[in-house]
Symmetry: C2
Subunit: 320 residues, 2 copies
């Protein structure tokens, strides 16, 4: 990428804002980022921070008028539909000829697939890709996100997509074809949510039996319970100094979002006819914890608190 | 360790036999290993393989007459009780003065604790340690086991224990005190069993949605669903060429043993008052799969088969 580009970014929320910030500072010289968000404050703050390289738009349509490459990063499937279809000034109210459209939102596969089809019917020369991320707001800020991209490595657009996404992330996995980025993301979060809960439960059993959680985490790390969750995001406060659990479960990945993704994965699993033994218990736990005022709005590893885990063990260890 | 030692080993099963084999070949010159097993064939085979450095015993008592250090590696708590207490020629029918007693079996914490107390009452100068292992029969053969040792790193016997266990394993974790080796092992296997099942379910959702399991495993590896189970013991055949799943689920860790450990962990959790959201669903799954003739006696990652996962995807991928 050395030629200047006209790029659009729709959705300047907790994830979208830092992603767009990385994009605007790393695009080739002379490029422009056209931004839109339902919050005027967000677009104004953004364009004030990047006065020469960004421009505020008053609708998705205006973004489409200027940009050849358009990213979307919004919370739910209904928002993706709204940005594309369900409003008079949606993206599809303008022609999208040869546009490269990349949706980074984590939504259900059906909505993504129907938007993909609508785009193709409306502008056959346009391309629509699902490219959800993992890595949280910290990954978005540090440009260390993992992108799960709904295309094949042999897709002729893949090098371009890889170049663009590398400005915002570290790992780009081509998941094989349209929709498979979302499939991979939902499967990953289904698995990750259960690993988090299993690790919280296992740590809690050990601690209530009298074990030091740091020793228990060391056993897990060298044995078959090893996981990134245990090593870097341990649900027990004080085991990983940098993890959200060690900072009042602030930051990280909100439990309501985990519950949302888990629910989407269970829906996808049911539609695909997959037997899931842990789905009901997992969904019940995340749903209840999401509604619990002690857990709501905190990192999803707060499941340890929901289980009644001892968060004061360090105090007691210091006193004894 | 340079002086010759008289060591005992009780239990020459699938794990004990290769562990004792490593021990007998690595002990200081002039040492002798006194072996006992309920199967005479096992002790005879062993002593024939090591004629000068091992000796067959006809009861645990005979082992105690000769050895100062005695390992036990038997399947269940009832066997540990039998070896120590519940037979006329058990270990405690002889004095155990200054003996170092190391039980490597994975059993419930209560039985271990009661044997520990009986030993102390009977011979106050003897020491009894729980030291269960992880790593399976392959780890036992290659001496790469992880030992979870029920003692503190500051325990004066720890250097001796570390030296002895290093002859049979690679990682020795001092878990803090008596019984905590078992606690750590059970918590590890509780967590590992759930990670295996969660990974099998998540891979199955993705595959039934049309995704290539190798791409899905690559996403997990670079994201929050990463685990040793996913990376090295993936439940889907063909993802990890060396994993049991890629060899008809032969080898590895038998599903009945995983079910046994999971059940022991759930019991320990209940006794400790730990809330476990996934315990019932997990135990039900492992129990049913253990009784399923398609899964019984195979590596516990056979849960993928139990879920109805597609084991033929490689054939289909080759054909298309």
């Amino acid at each position: 990428m050395d030629k200047s580009l006209n790029v659009g970014f729709i959705g300047l929320g907790a994830m979208g804002y830092p992603m767009a910030s990385n994009l605007v500072t790393k695009l080739p010289q002379g490029s422009k980022l056209y931004v839109f968000d339902v919050s005027k404050l967000a677009t104004e703050t953004f364009t004030k921070s990047h006065p020469t390289s960004s421009e505020s738009c008053d609708s998705p349509r205006t973004v489409a008028e200027h940009a050849n490459i358009i990213f979307t990063m919004v919370p739910e499937g209904s928002h993706v539909r709204s940005v594309y279809l369900d409003q008079p000034n949606g993206l599809l109210s303008h022609h999208l000829q040869s546009r490269l459209l990349i949706d980074c939102s984590t939504i259900d596969c059906e909505t993504s697939s129907s938007v993909h089809d609508e785009v193709k019917r409306h502008s056959p020369s346009a391309s629509f890709y699902d490219a959800p991320v993992s890595g949280g707001t910290l990954g978005a800020e540090k440009a260390t996100l993992t992108f799960m991209l709904g295309c094949s490595e042999t897709d002729e657009t893949f090098p371009t997509l890889h170049g663009l996404l590398s400005l915002m992330g570290k790992t780009i996995v081509a998941c094989g074809g349209p929709g498979f980025g979302l499939t991979a993301k939902l499967c990953n979060n289904y698995c990750s949510a259960l690993i988090s809960l299993a690790t919280a439960e296992a740590m809690n059993i050990g601690m209530r039996s009298g074990m030091d959680p740091r020793l228990l985490a060391r056993v897990f790390a060298s044995s078959t319970a090893q996981s990134t969750i245990c090593d870097k995001w341990n649900p027990v406060p004080g085991v990983c100094p940098d993890a959200p659990s060690s900072h009042g479960y602030q930051g990280g990945f909100k439990i309501q979002l985990m519950k949302k993704d888990f629910g989407l994965a269970v829906e996808a699993g049911k539609k695909a006819g997959a037997k899931m033994l842990l789905a009901d218990a997992g969904l019940k736990g995340y749903t209840e914890a999401s509604e619990d005022p002690r857990c709501r709005d905190l990192d999803s590893r707060v499941m340890f608190r929901y289980l009644g885990g001892d968060e004061q063990w360090q105090e007691l260890a210091r006193q004894s």
